[in-house]
Amino acid sequence: MSKRSLGLIHKQRRMIPRIEALLLTAFLVFPVWADDFWILFATRVLIVGLLALSFDLVWGYAGILSFGQALFFGMAGYSCALLATKLGVTSILVMLPLALAVGLIVAIVINLLVILGKRIPTTVFVALGTLTGSYVVERLARGWSYVGGQNGIPSLPRLTVGGYEIVEGKGYYYMALGILLAVYVGLRYLTRSQFGLVLAGIRLQEARMAFFGYKVQSYKGMVFALAGMIAGLSGGLYAFHEGYVGPGQLGPVLSTQAVLYVLFGGVGTLVGGLVGVGIIDLFSYLLSQKWETGWPIVLGMLLLVVVMFRPTGLIGLVVSERERMGSFGKRDRTASAKRPKDAADTIS
C-alpha cells in the first residue's frame, strides 16, 4: 500500500518540472519567430521575472511578507544609472556586480531595521516596515534633484561587454534569459536543500523551529539578503533595458506588483512567479489594446477572481499541494528513512 501511495506522489510531483521544461523551451525558441517588439516585451518579462523570484523566495519560502522588493530593484537601478550617466561606466562586468551589491547592501540595512531586531517581528510588522521603507525612499527620490527628482534619469547608455554594446533585442534577451536561468537553478537547488527544509519549517511553524534550536531570524535574514540581491540584479538589468530610471521603480506600486505577480502565478513554486509576470503583463497589454480606457478595471477584476478562488495561484490548477510543498535533500532520502531497519543493519 505504501508503495502505491508513493507512486502516486511521484506521479503528481512531475508537474513542476514539466512546466519548467515547457517554459524553458518556449523562451529558448521564442526569438526565432517573434518580431522585435515581442522580443523586447519578453525580455522585460524575463527581467521582471527576477523580481518576482525574489519575492517568491522571501514570502513563498521564508514567510517574510516583504512589500519592499521594489526598494532593492530601484536602488540598484538608480545606482547603475548614476554611474552610467555621471561617470560613463557601462561595462557589464561592473554593472551587474554593482546591482547585486546595492541590492545586498540595502537588504542588509532593511534587515537590521526590520527583521534582525531583539524581538521577533510579526508578519504585519515586516510588511509595513518594508512598505514604509519603499514609500519613504520613493518620496525622497522624487524630491532630490541630483537624481532627477520626479523626472528620474533618462537616456541611459547601453550596457557594454568588451567594447560591444548589448542592444535591446535578441542579444539582451538571451543575456537576461541566461541570468534568469542561472538564478532560477540556484534558487531551486537552495529551496530543495536542507536549507530549504528549514525554511519550510520556519514558514509553517516558526516557534517550533526556534525550539529545535534553529536561529530562525538568521535564516530569515539570509534569505532576505539573498532576495535583495536578486531584486537588485533585476533592477540593474531593467534600467539599461528600458533606458531610464524613475522614482516609480522604487515605490510601493512596483513592490505591490511583485506581490501580485507571485500570488497570481502561484506562491512558493518559483516558477509560479514567472508565469504570473508573463500572464499579467501579456493580459494587461492585450486588454489595453482592446479597450484603451477601461482595461485596468478588467485586469483588476481578473486578479481578484484568481486570488479569491485560487489562493495557490494559477499554478495551483495543475500542481498539487503536496508537490508545492516539495521534497527536500537527496532524492532517495525519503526511501532510506522509511527503512530504518536497513540502516541499522549497515551500521552493525
Binding site: D35, D36, F37, W38, L40, F41, R44, R139, R142, G143, S145, G148, G149, Q150, N151, G152, P154, S155, L156, E168, E242, G243, Y244, G246, P247, G248, Q249, V253, L254, S284, Y285, S288, E292, T293, G294, W295, P296
Partner: protein
C-alpha cells in the same frame, strides 16, 4: 459621412485589399524567382500606404483629465486631414496607446508604436516624467520623431524632439510685468515639490527681480500636502501682493481655501497660477479664486476665429467633461499635429530627417490662440500668449502679448 471621409474609408479598405493582392503577388514572385528575390521591395508601388501617427497619452490614471482631451483632439485632427484628402496623397492612420500615467508601462507601449507599428511620428506624454521615460525609446533607440505637447519647465533639447507647449519664458515674460502692475511688487512662491515648479520659479524669480519686484518667500510642499497654516500666516503677515502658485491638486484645493479664509483675496491680494485653464476653474469654489490670473497660449474667452472653430467642432464630437483647453496640452497637441502636417507637406516625405528639417521652421497661420511657428534651431514654438483673470467662475482676457512670444529655450 462627408464625401471626403467616404473616399478615405474606401481608400483604406482598398488598401488592405490591394495589400493582399500585392503580398500574394510578392509571394508568387518569391517562389518563382527563388530566395534572393525578396530583396526586391515593391513598396514604391503602394501609392495609398497610410502614414502612421502614434499617439501615446494617459487615457487612464491620475493624468487622464489631460490625456483624454489629447486623444480626442488627435482623432479629430487626423479625421479632418483624412476628410480633406490625407497627406501627400496618402491617408493617415492613428495608433492610439494608453500610457496609463505609468512610466514603466509607457515604455512598452511606445516601443510597440516604434518597433511594431513603425509609426512615422509619435505625439504625446503629459508630464515631464513621462516625456523623460519615453523619449529615449522613441528618439534615440527608436529613431522616430517625437512631438511633446504640454506646457513644461523647458530645457528639453534632445534632437528630433519638438515641443509645442508654452515654456517658462512664454508664461512669465508678459505675465509677471502685468502682475506687478495689477497686483504689487511683493511675491510669494508656494510650490509643489517636483521639477517643474523648481525650474519655473527660478525663471519667475529672475523676471520678478528684473521688473523691480521682490520675492518674499519660496516654499516647496509634497503634492498632497494639506495644512498650509504657517505659509498662509507668513503671506498675510508680510503683506504679500501676489501669490504665484505652483502647487497642484490634490494639495492645491486646501491651499486656496486656507488662503481665502485668511482674507488674502478680500484684502486685495492677487492669486496667480500659470497652468489654470477653464477646466481648472472647477477645482475650487469660484469665490476662492476670484481675480486669479493665468497666462496660457489659449483661452476660450479670446474668441478668435481659429480657436472658436476648433472649440465648436470639438464640442460637437466630444461634449462633456473633457473640454478642449490649454492646460491639458490639447492645444499643444493640435498645434503639434498641424505643424507636423505643414512640415510633411514641405518635405514631401515622412522620413524623420526630412520632416525634422522642415519642422525646424514650420509655421501655421491658424490655430487655437492664433498662428504659431517653430523658432529655427530650438525645436520650440513661438506663439501668442494671453493673460486672463477669473471673474465669477469664468476667464476674462485682460492682456494679449504683442505678437508671438519667444520660447527662450535651446537657443
Amino acid at each position: 459621412m462627408s464625401n471626403g471621409e467616404f473616399q478615405v474609408r474606401q481608400r483604406l479598405q482598398s488598401y488592405s485589399r490591394r495589400l493582399f493582392v500585392q503580398r500574394a503577388g510578392l509571394l508568387g514572385g518569391m517562389i518563382a524567382l527563388g530566395a534572393g528575390s525578396y530583396l526586391y521591395n515593391p513598396r514604391g508601388s503602394w501609392a495609398a500606404d497610410p502614414i502612421k501617427v502614434g499617439i501615446a497619452t494617459d487615457l487612464t490614471g491620475p493624468i487622464s483629465w489631460g490625456g483624454i482631451p489629447n486623444a480626442n483632439v488627435a482623432k479629430m485632427v487626423i479625421d479632418d486631414m483624412n476628410a480633406s484628402g490625407g497627406l501627400l496623397g496618402r491617408p493617415l492612420q492613428i495608433y492610439l496607446e494608453d500610457t496609463a500615467t505609468n512610466e514603466a508601462l509607457a515604455v512598452t507601449k511606445v516601443r510597440k508604436l516604434v518597433t511594431q507599428d513603425r509609426v512615422d511620428v509619435v505625439l504625446g506624454g503629459i508630464t515631464s516624467s513621462m516625456r523623460n521615460a519615453i523619449k529615449d525609446t522613441i528618439v534615440n533607440r527608436g529613431k522616430t520623431l517625437y512631438i511633446y505637447p504640454q506646457l513644461y519647465e523647458g530645457k528639453e533639447c534632445t534632437p528630433y524632439l519638438f515641443c509645442t507647449g508654452p515654456t517658462p519664458a512664454q508664461q512669465c515674460d508678459t505675465f509677471i510685468p502685468w502682475l506687478i502692475k495689477n497686483g504689487g511688487k511683493k511675491f510669494y512662491l508656494p510650490s509643489a515639490d517636483y521639477v517643474w515648479p523648481h525650474v519655473l520659479n527660478a525663471y519667475a524669480r529672475k523676471t520678478i527681480e528684473q521688473n523691480g519686484g521682490e520675492v518674499v518667500g519660496e516654499e516647496y510642499f509634497p503634492v498632497d500636502h494639506n495644512d498650509y497654516g504657517a505659509t498662509v500666516n507668513k503671506i498675510m503677515a508680510s503683506k504679500v501682493n501676489v501669490v504665484f502658485n505652483t502647487t497642484i491638486p490634490p494639495g492645491l484645493a486646501a491651499f486656496f481655501k486656507q488662503l481665502y479664509e485668511a482674507g488674502f483675496n478680500r484684502n486685495g491680494g492677487r492669486l496667480a497660477c500659470v497652468y489654470y485653464d477653464e477646466n481648472a476653474l472647477n477645482i475650487t469654489p469660484a469665490e476662492e479664486i476670484e481675480g486669479l490670473g493665468s497666462c496660457l497660449d489659449y483661452f476660450k474667452a479670446i474668441n478668435d476665429p481659429g480657436g472658436n472653430k476648433i472649440q465648436a467642432e470639438y464640442n460637437k464630437l466630444y461634449p462633456g467633461v473633457n473640454p478642449f483647453t490649454a492646460g491639458s496640452a490639447a492645444t499643444g497637441m493640435y498645434r503639434g499635429l498641424k505643424l507636423w502636417e505643414a512640415a510633411v507637406k514641405e518635405a514631401k516625405s515622412v522620413k524623420r530627417e526630412d520632416v525634422a528639417k522642415a519642422l525646424d521652421h514650420a509655421k501655421i497661420l491658424e490655430g487655437p490662440g492664433g498662428g504659431s511657428e517653430f523658432v529655427p534651431g530650438t525645436r520650440h514654438v513661438k506663439m501668442n500668449m494671453y493673460t486672463a483673470v477669473s471673474k465669477g467662475g469664468k476667464f476674462e482676457i485682460v492682456e494679449k502679448s504683442k505678437g508671438p512670444v519667444m520660447p527662450g529655450e535651446c537657443g
